[in-house]
């Protein structure tokens, strides 16, 4: 079990972030906010996939007006994504944003930041303070060598946290982001050592789905394994439902969320395999796709690790030439022909 780092609690509507709450998966809509129907539909697909908070871009006045309507139409708290405009922030807060994402670095005047903080305080809106390597332009971060950037980002974060605390506002979630895996790991370790506010993890601009999966899993996984991170967003250039699927896989792999679906263990096969393990595993996967219980199912191709994995599985098959040994919780209970393997496994799963 991972020992999660202790933080203050921040409420985003009814969703608690930090202070021992389960890691919250969030994502972002990718259709125009003014297309209310499409937006609501995408949010509902995200909820269905396991997303608990959704962020929405509100670059124009028309967007904050649409945002107000979307808030009324969906079941989960929404976050407004603010850039450059204090006016959009105030409008979003008044429109019912449960949280806003604010990169104070791109709000020109400090008095505007203070206005936003006060409005959020009045409306019970949480604020994510974002320090983003790619957007701290007024600091000319890009002229700073890579080796110095995380300390500059940390100094920025300290400055903003002091500003918020000075205004007696503590409903804050901290995020420091980079498109570089190592700097993402490093800056978040520093942030979590320095503050006790919840931390939002993300790797920015990770790329197309097939390119984004590994670096996101490496950076977020490394931090989560160290107990760092209270809410996560995986960035993928593509359908946001894919972001939620990857986020869930990361959390599942670390035991950080309930296994609400079976886990399928499959041996990688080698020259020892006497059957087509991959084809068998694909058939098992299709056969179990409707099961929504935390079961562990193993498909193994030989006796080297087969019986061992079978011992940890609820149901397992060790396949040999033309036949399969079926195991239930480590006990060998049947030997069946190759054709009968799927049926025998499903029968056992039903019996559990």
């Amino acid at each position: 079990m991972i020992k999660r780092r202790k933080t203050k609690a921040v409420m985003v509507g009814a969703v608690k972030i930090g202070s021992g709450a389960p890691v919250v998966i969030q994502s972002m809509t990718k259709v125009h906010t003014t297309d209310i129907e499409k937006c609501v539909k995408q949010i509902n697909r995200l909820i269905e996939a396991g997303c608990r908070l959704v962020r929405i871009a509100v670059p124009t006045r028309a967007d904050t007006e649409a945002f107000a309507k979307i808030v009324q139409k969906v079941k989960i708290p929404l976050i407004a994504d603010i850039h450059f405009s204090p006016q959009r922030a105030i409008e979003a807060i008044e429109a019912g944003a449960a949280k806003i994402r604010l990169n104070p670095g791109n709000i020109k005047e400090q008095r505007d930041i203070l206005r936003i903080i006060d409005a959020a305080g009045m409306h019970g809106t949480a604020i994510r303070i974002g320090v983003n390597e790619a957007s701290i332009r007024n600091l000319k971060v890009m002229d700073i060598p890579f080796s110095r950037r995380v300390s500059v980002m940390l100094a920025e974060m300290k400055k903003y946290v002091r500003l918020f605390e000075g205004r007696k506002f503590t409903q804050i979630v901290l995020s420091a982001k980079s498109s570089d895996t190592l700097r993402t790991i490093e800056i978040n370790r520093l942030i979590s050592e320095t503050f006790d506010y919840p931390v939002h993890l993300g790797l920015t601009h990770a790329g197309l789905a097939e390119d984004a999966m590994v670096p996101s899993a490496v950076s977020l996984g490394t931090l989560l394994a160290e107990g760092i991170g209270d809410t996560i967003r995986v960035s993928v250039a593509g359908d946001p439902v894919g972001e939620v699927e990857i986020a869930k896989q990361i959390l599942l792999s670390l035991g950080l969320c309930e296994h609400l679906r079976p886990e399928l263990i499959v041996c990688p096969t080698c020259g020892r395999a006497e059957i087509d393990v991959v084809a068998l595993a694909r058939r098992v996967k299709r056969a179990i796709e409707k099961i929504d219980r935390p079961l562990r199912i193993a498909v193994m191709g030989c006796i080297v690790n087969g019986p061992g994995e079978a011992a940890d599985a609820d149901v397992a098959v060790c396949a040999a030439k033309n036949k399969g040994f079926i195991y239930r919780r480590g006990k060998k209970i049947a030997v069946v022909s190759a054709k009968q393997i799927i049926g025998a496994m499903l029968k056992e799963l039903k019996n559990l």
Copy 2:
């Protein structure tokens, strides 16, 4: 930069593992070893993909005979995968295995383990000592609660290392494997604290490709980010070339191998995007797929992080409605129509 943990050096043929050498990617053949032609073909595809060591199963006498022939036909050192049979181990060593993988737990008699060690010593063959959670059956590990297993695995490893050292054999690589992400992380941390031999990392039985990618990236990534791991194998039930691709992505994301291909940064898009960022990124990806230099290319959909990412990229586009701002190493150098974006980027890449 990751500070790699210091270890002894182990030579596997001409490939050095540990002691500051780059992390070595390895994989395993998945065709019958006796089918020499298919085996050689698969090994050559693995080499082409970036694999530097290949392991081969040798369950029968016919397999070790084939192994001897395969050794002669390929350009990289080969590892023989031994289970249960000391005779196969000796045959493989004599056949020219540069390394054998041995789980001493599945060799019944200690005198047979000593015979194998002595043969390896005579032939300059390295040995990977494997302790596998699913295969330490004679210890009845499966009856031990999860919370105690890693300490049992560590105790096993200590026993074997003493046995090898007692025989003055130190060309050893250590691997302790589990199909559980957290226990994989935990046992490898312990192994690397306890010994200064190189460590082989892997998550066993990770599953079908789409299920294996995230847990492999999380477990291996977390350990590598801590400086642990000298050779890695990603297990996927499927084509072994896919294993090498994932392994490369993990190493690339942590700066642990040379970027021999461009890195494509893409913003995840949101309600602000005025163009189809994903479609543009796919076109850019196709256009750059032949480039084998470590370039950083960014495709960004708006001005929030666009100019910032552009500053770190060799070539970037910030796309707006019907047009694209082209950047070369942070400097805006052209504004082109949507149709001209790819051409303009390729021209810049050529100029670099």
